[in-house]
């Protein structure tokens, strides 16, 4: 569905992470510059509070600096992993619960390459276009679940729809999104 990253390219995430493992602050700063804006934007979308979103950014990148192996244990791309961790950490905050898992537990295999601004922007535009074509109830269900962190039961209570309908809508929305991106 997406282009994968060239891990051997100069300045690639993998090479930068190797330098971070050797305690190179400039490499860590490059990773921060590449992804912190994205992490901040996702955390802000979920939390709607810039101060809390800043805390999520600080926490995630500090942990990478302290334990770069937290990501190395994952087999996907750094950008995809950061997106997942940013969203999950922000959801933990709005659910007012302490993170129950460490960063090492966020193991994903996605190789989506969003290291480049061009790839990221193009993907963003395509997803937005695809979201606009979804039936409104599907879009609402998937956004309430993903960005507002509501359980399917909470969504069912809010929308007045049966639980099974909510689950189906979320699944259909994601599959429609996938097809639109593959087209």
């Amino acid at each position: 569905m997406f282009r994968t990253a060239d891990t051997n390219a100069p300045g690639s995430d993998e090479l930068l992470l190797n330098r971070v493992g050797q305690r190179d602050p400039q490499a860590m700063t490059q990773i921060f510059d590449r992804y912190a804006g994205l992490v901040f934007s996702i955390a802000l979308r979920v939390l709607k509070d810039p101060g809390q979103a800043e805390d999520v950014v600080q926490e995630i990148f500090t942990q990478i600096w302290q334990r770069p192996g937290a990501f190395v244990s994952s087999k996907g791309s750094l950008g995809a992993w950061l997106v997942v961790v940013a969203r999950n950490r922000a959801i933990d905050l709005i659910r007012r619960r302490r993170p129950t898992d460490s960063l090492e537990d966020h193991v994903i295999t996605s190789k989506v390459n969003i290291a480049s601004e061009v790839e990221r922007t193009t993907l963003m535009q395509k997803v937005r276009t695809a979201l606009d074509t979804l039936p409104s109830e599907q879009r609402l269900s998937v956004e309430l679940a993903y960005f507002d962190g509501l359980t399917q039961t909470e969504i069912a209570e809010r929308t007045g729809d049966p639980l099974g309908t909510v689950k189906t809508r979320i699944r259909l929305a994601l599959i429609s999104l996938r097809r639109a991106l593959q087209a």
């Binding site: 490059q30 800043e54 969003i114 993907l123 963003m124 937005r128």
Partner: protein
Amino acid sequence: MKGGTHISQDDLALYAMRSLGPEETASVRAHLEVCEECRKELAMFEDDLIALAVSTEPHEMPAHVRQRFVDSIGGISSTAAPGPARAESPSVITMHPRRAAVWIPWAAAAAMAVTAGGLAVRNHALDERLAQEAQRNVSLTGQNAYAERVVQVLTARDAQHVVLTTAKTPPMPTGRTTYLARTGELIFQGSNLASLPPGKAYELWLIPADGSASIPAGTFRPDAQGNASLVFPKLSAGVAAKAFGITIERAEGSPTPTLPIVLAGSDRPAGE
């Protein structure tokens, strides 16, 4: 929760979002340990959700967040650190109200002297500025001629374009874009570009810094040697770019880029 022996797609999607309860989560996790088919299905939902997350409206992160992080890891920030607070002591004038009147004539005379001095200084400054402007005119004329020569060389049909790389490295397609956002002027030079089938062209895209839609910046086809250039395509002034990309499109161009992006480059912050 399960459909047949596998986890239902509904539950895999919710599992990927961490929206299942603890018991269901544990059950799905146990099944994933032993079922490659469900792991593959889950990976697709994870990709979908990553795409959904990336659709988030980009927001400018406050500069102090970066500074705080760079400070915390002992790095060197490429942005200027805020200077130390000025250690000026506040000017406090204390004057006894009864004595104030005595100072009024002296103050008026001093003010007139200062004004006269100021006018003389201003006159001198204007003279200097005039001389500088005259010198700047001469310089600009020279620069114009120089710029004209640069463009002529860059765009001349008989110019030789040679890309130097490490010996024995196969020539790689490259593109170099020079863009002046305040005027919307752009020059693109491409080398070693693969030839295209009839009806197709390369299209250059400007990716705006504000996250708005990619702007088409002209189509082109390389010559037999793989060279191509775009000089001053029609672009609006004042659009800051964070990146540029090239895709392959119909010969007449496309309103939106078609993946894959064959060449891309971004305007990285200093220090990278």
